[in-house]
Amino acid sequence: MRDTVMEYETSKVLKFAREGKRVDGRALDEMREITIETGMSENAEGSTIVTLGKTKIIAGLKVDIGKPYPDNQDEGSISIGAETLPLAHPDYESGRPSADEVELARVVDRGLRESKAIDFKKLCITKGEAVWVGFLDFYALNGDGNLFDAGSIAALVTFNNAKLPKLDKEGKIILHEYDGKIKLARQPLLTTFAKVGGKIMLDPTYLEEKASDARYSAATTDDGFISAMQKGVGGSFTLEEVDYMIDKAFEIGDKIRKQIKQVK
C-alpha cells in the first residue's frame, strides 16, 4: 500500500519536473520557509529547533571537560552526530546508525570543521591536561527532505548561541552556570540540490529526494569560501550544473545567514 502510494507520488513529482514545476508550487530555485528557535533545552549548552517547510530538526550541544589528544595538547574537540528518529518518519528505523545517518552527520560536520570556523585552540583549558570536548547531536523530529541544510543551520545556530560552562576553583563544571561562548571565525552553511527528471531543484522535499537521480551540496561561508561539497545518489552532474549550484549556494547561504543573524 505505502509503496504504491509512494510510487504514484514520485511519478507525479517527475511529471511536474519535466514541465519545470514542483508539486508544492515552488520555483525550482526556491527555498522553503525557515523558522529558527533556540534555547529549549536547559540542560544543553546550546539548542536549536529549525523547521524547513515540514522538515523539523532539533540540535543540542553538550560540553564537557576532557583530556587533549596526545598529538594536539592544546586543542579541544567537537563531534557531530545525527539521528533520523523513527518518531520523524515511517521510513526511519531505530538501531545502529544507517549509512544515510553517517553521511548526514559527516557532511554537516565537515562543512563546519573544514571551514576552520571553530578555533580548537580556544577550546583549551589547561594545555596537556584539560580541554573542552563538545558533542553536537541533531535529531530529525519530522522528516520532509533536505536534512542536510536543516541540520547545517541547526548546528551553526547552536554553536553561535552556545555558552561554555563555568568552572569552580578545582576546575570542575558548575552546573547551569556559564562563562563565555564559542566564537566562530566564519559562518558556513550547506545548500543542497536534487536533480529530478533532469532539473536541478533547490531544497528538495522527501518526495523529490525519492524521485531524484542525484544530490549535490555545497557549504559556503560569509567570507566567500566554499568549505565543503558532497555529491550523492546514483546519478551524475555536468560541470556546468555544479557551477550553477555553487553560485546559487552562495546566494542562498547569504540569505539564510541574514536570517540567522536575527536569532538571539
Binding site: 529549549m40 533545552s41 536547559e42 540542560n43 544543553a44 549548552e45 539548542s47 515540514k54 523539523k56 532539533i58 543540542g60 550541544l61 553538550k62 564537557d64 552526530g81 539521528e83 528518529l85 523513527p86 518518531l87 520523524a88 518518519h89 515511517p90 531505530s94 545502529r96 546508525p97 558533542f135 547531536d137 535529531y139 523530529l141 519530522n142 522528516g143 520532509d144 552546573l175 547551569h176
Partner: protein
C-alpha cells in the same frame, strides 16, 4: 542540596509549590506532520515529543500477535537532555521504561481490534528534570488519541512520593535528590482508576503508601484534565477550519478522534 531542608517547617517546596501541586503542564497535539498522531508536552522543565505510527504491518511477520496489535514503545532521550551527556543508543533504563510504558498503554487501547499489527509509539525527551517517564506516558496517550486510536480510556500519569519529610506530588530533580526521597511513577485509567503503571524506589511505610496512593490518583486526575483540554482544543481547531482543505483530507481520522474524545469525557 542542603540536607537540612524540612518541608514540615517550610510548608512549601523548594520551587514554591504546594505539596499536592503539579508543575506547570501543557500539551499540544498534531506537532509531527508525518505521524498518524503526535503530541508535544512541557511539564516543568521536561520537554517531550511523542509520535504514533500505525496500526501497521509487523516485520518480521512471525513476531506478530494473531490476537492483538502489539504496542511497541521506544523511550529515548537526546544526548543533550540531561546535565551529563547521554550516549547514543538505548541504555538499560531506557529499555525498562520502554517496556513498562508499552504495557501501560496496552490496557488503554482496544488492541484486539487490530490483530497481527504493531502500533509504534515513539517518545523523545529533549529536556529532562525528573518525571520524564510519566511525562512521556502522558504525551504518548494523547498522541494515541490524536491518531484516532479506539481507546478504553486515556492513560494519565504522575510522579508522587516523599521528599524532605513530606509526601509530595510530582517530584522535581532537587526533590529526587533528597536524602529521604521516594519516587513513585504511577499511571491510571482516570475513569476506572485502574492502575496501569506503578513503580517504586526507596523506603516507605505501609501507612505512607496509603496516603501516597490517594495523592497519586489525585495527581493523575489533574493530568487527565489537561490531556482532555489538549484534545478538545485540537477538535475545536479542526471544527473551526470547517470545510477547509486540511480538514477535508483528514476527515475520517478526525471523526474517529471525536469518538474517542467523547468516550473519554463521559
Amino acid at each position: 542540596m542542603d540536607r537540612k531542608i524540612d518541608y514540615k517547617k517550610t510548608k512549601k517546596r523548594l520551587d514554591g509549590r504546594k505539596m499536592d501541586e503539579t508543575r506547570p503542564l501543557s500539551i499540544k497535539t498534531g506537532v509531527i506532520e508525518n505521524a498518524d498522531g503526535s503530541a508535544y508536552l512541557e511539564w516543568g522543565q521536561n520537554k517531550i515529543y511523542a509520535a504514533v505510527y500505525g496500526p501497521r504491518e509487523v516485520l518480521p511477520k512471525h513476531s506478530a500477535d494473531p490476537l492483538r496489535s502489539v504496542i511497541k514503545v521506544e523511550y529515548r532521550m537526546t544526548s543533550f537532555s540531561v546535565p551529563q551527556r547521554k550516549r547514543p543508543g538505548p541504555n538499560r533504563r531506557d529499555q525498562e521504561i520502554s517496556k513498562v510504558l508499552g504495557e501501560a498503554l496496552s490496557r488503554a487501547v482496544f488492541v484486539e481490534q487490530f490483530p497481527n499489527t504493531e502500533i509504534g509509539v515513539y517518545v523523545e525527551v529533549v529536556d529532562a528534570n525528573a518525571g520524564s517517564r510519566v511525562a512521556c506516558l502522558t504525551a504518548a496517550s494523547v498522541a494515541l488519541a490524536d491518531a484516532g486510536m479506539p481507546m478504553r480510556d486515556m492513560v494519565a500519569a504522575t510522579g508522587v512520593g516523599k521528599a524532605y519529610g513530606e509526601l509530595v506530588i510530582d517530584l522535581n530533580k532537587d526533590e529526587e535528590d533528597a536524602p529521604d526521597a521516594v519516587d513513585i511513577p504511577i499511571a491510571i485509567l482516570p475513569n476506572s482508576e485502574e492502575i496501569v503503571l506503578l513503580q517504586m524506589d526507596g523506603l516507605l511505610t505501609r501507612k505512607e503508601w496509603d496516603a501516597i496512593a490517594k495523592l497519586g490518583i489525585k495527581g493523575c486526575k489533574q493530568v487527565y484534565e489537561i490531556q482532555k483540554k489538549a484534545l478538545v482544543e485540537k477538535f475545536e481547531l479542526s471544527e473551526a477550519k470547517g470545510k477547509s482543505q486540511v480538514a477535508k483530507e483528514k476527515t475520517v481520522k478526525k471523526k474517529t478522534v471525536k469518538k474517542t474524545v467523547k468516550k473519554v469525557k463521559k
